[in-house]
Amino acid sequence: MYYRIYVLLLFFTAFFFSACKRNFQYSVLEVRPLDREINQKSIAEINQLSPKDTFSFLIMSDSQVAYKPLESFVRHVNKTYAKDSVAFILHAGDFTDYGANFEYNLYYELTEKLNFPVVGCIGNHDMLGNGQEIYRKFFGPENFTFTYGANRFILFNNNGREVGFNGTLPDLSWLNTEILNAREDNLFFISHVPPMSDDFDPALRDDFVDLLAANKSTRLSIHGHTHSFEYGEFFNDGVPYLVVPTLLKKEYVKVTVFGNEILVQQKYF
């Protein structure tokens, strides 16, 4: 009599354990990343490359709910670009919608298949719930830099509204130190919120813009957040600002660097 129940239970257990991809979830707010320090791992890969004076990199942004486009993007990039035609890929933030661990994991699993190293900065959505802690574990520090030949890439958290515009994001003293220490010919800044946006800390906006404009090596400030392509010298100070559209629109941006010159191209897939 009982063995029938046991057999049935066993069958159901086997069925359900195989039916779920990740069987046990403790909370939507849990912090259980699938990997650690993926930005730093990508940077280690970038450091293995032999840098060229003329090179390209791609930028995607706001992939949050765009899992299908992200999947297509990965396929498109792997098919379109030969290994030496693109150095790396940048992500301008908002990997997730809820800052939830399961979303970070989905992003990770989809982009793992990319043939190029990916480095990304934190977006405002990525800070929700325990998102900021997940980012720190999964991606690494929020403010960091890496170099490629004569180019320095400076990535940082500037989601000021998430901390109630308390004057800490972006961390201007950190940024100032990084700029002062940089010996490279070209500086690229990557942060999620464009300073033109209402979500940029209004008390820090002028100082931030001035800081970038004061350095002759500043080539480009790269952002996401507003979901639409923008490119121009919005503060009339010689510094070009680029806003990368959301991946949901099946768009990304390609930047080519020729010595001290840059070419920004809007791309579709």
Partner: protein
């Protein structure tokens, strides 16, 4: 808190219906929950524990659970309260002591405590800046429960509102089984 009050009111109401003037014992019996439950995983804590009330016809269950995720799997430990309601069907008895409820369909409402999570958008956002809250989650469960004498075990497949919305927005990239995960529980029947 409100939910506690509702549970107590329902219990009291049942007592009034019972209309037994003498028996304090019976009132206590009525107020006493039917089950004590301990659950592993299932989106409401790494471990959650609580009490469960069952209607006399055994088809409806309501419970309240406290859930905990240790710091190892969170930033700071997550503490939360969950209200759970279930419909239970396809009951079969196998011998005198063994009973299986083949179908338990449930809905839960979970609230996590802590200043990092919000139930209402903080003032520094414009209204509607985020369409969801981080502290509140709603979930659906589907499972079965086995009872042997005073003890029971159950499993439930569960998903949450946020997972479902993500799935709907990206059904082609997120697989169906990505949405679901498992909760396992032990039950002690007090009555």
């Amino acid at each position: 808190m409100r939910c506690f009050a509702i549970l107590i009111l329902i219990s009291l109401h049942l007592n009034v219906l019972a209309n037994e003037p003498d028996s304090t014992q019976r009132i206590i019996d009525r107020l006493l929950p039917n089950n004590v439950v301990l659950q592993f995983a299932g989106n409401i804590g790494m471990f959650s524990t609580g009490v469960r009330y069952v209607t006399p016809n055994k088809h409806w269950k309501g419970g309240i659970m406290y859930g905990f995720v240790p710091a190892r799997y969170a930033d700071d430990p997550i503490h939360s309260l969950t209200l759970k309601g279930q419909y239970s069907g396809f009951h079969r008895e196998y011998g005198a002591d063994t009973k299986v409820e083949w179908l338990n369909v449930g809905i839960w409402y979970n609230s996590s405590f802590g200043s990092k999570y919000f139930k209402k958008l903080p003032g520094y956002y414009d209204s509607g800046y985020y369409y969801f809250t981080t502290a509140l989650n709603v979930g659906l469960t589907l499972g079965s429960e086995l009872k042997y004498k005073k003890w029971g075990i159950y499993y439930e497949l569960g998903t949450t509102d946020k997972r479902t919305i993500n799935y709907i927005k990206s059904a082609k990239a997120i697989t169906w089984h990505e949405m679901w995960n498992i909760g396992l529980g032990v039950v002690y029947h007090l009555k």
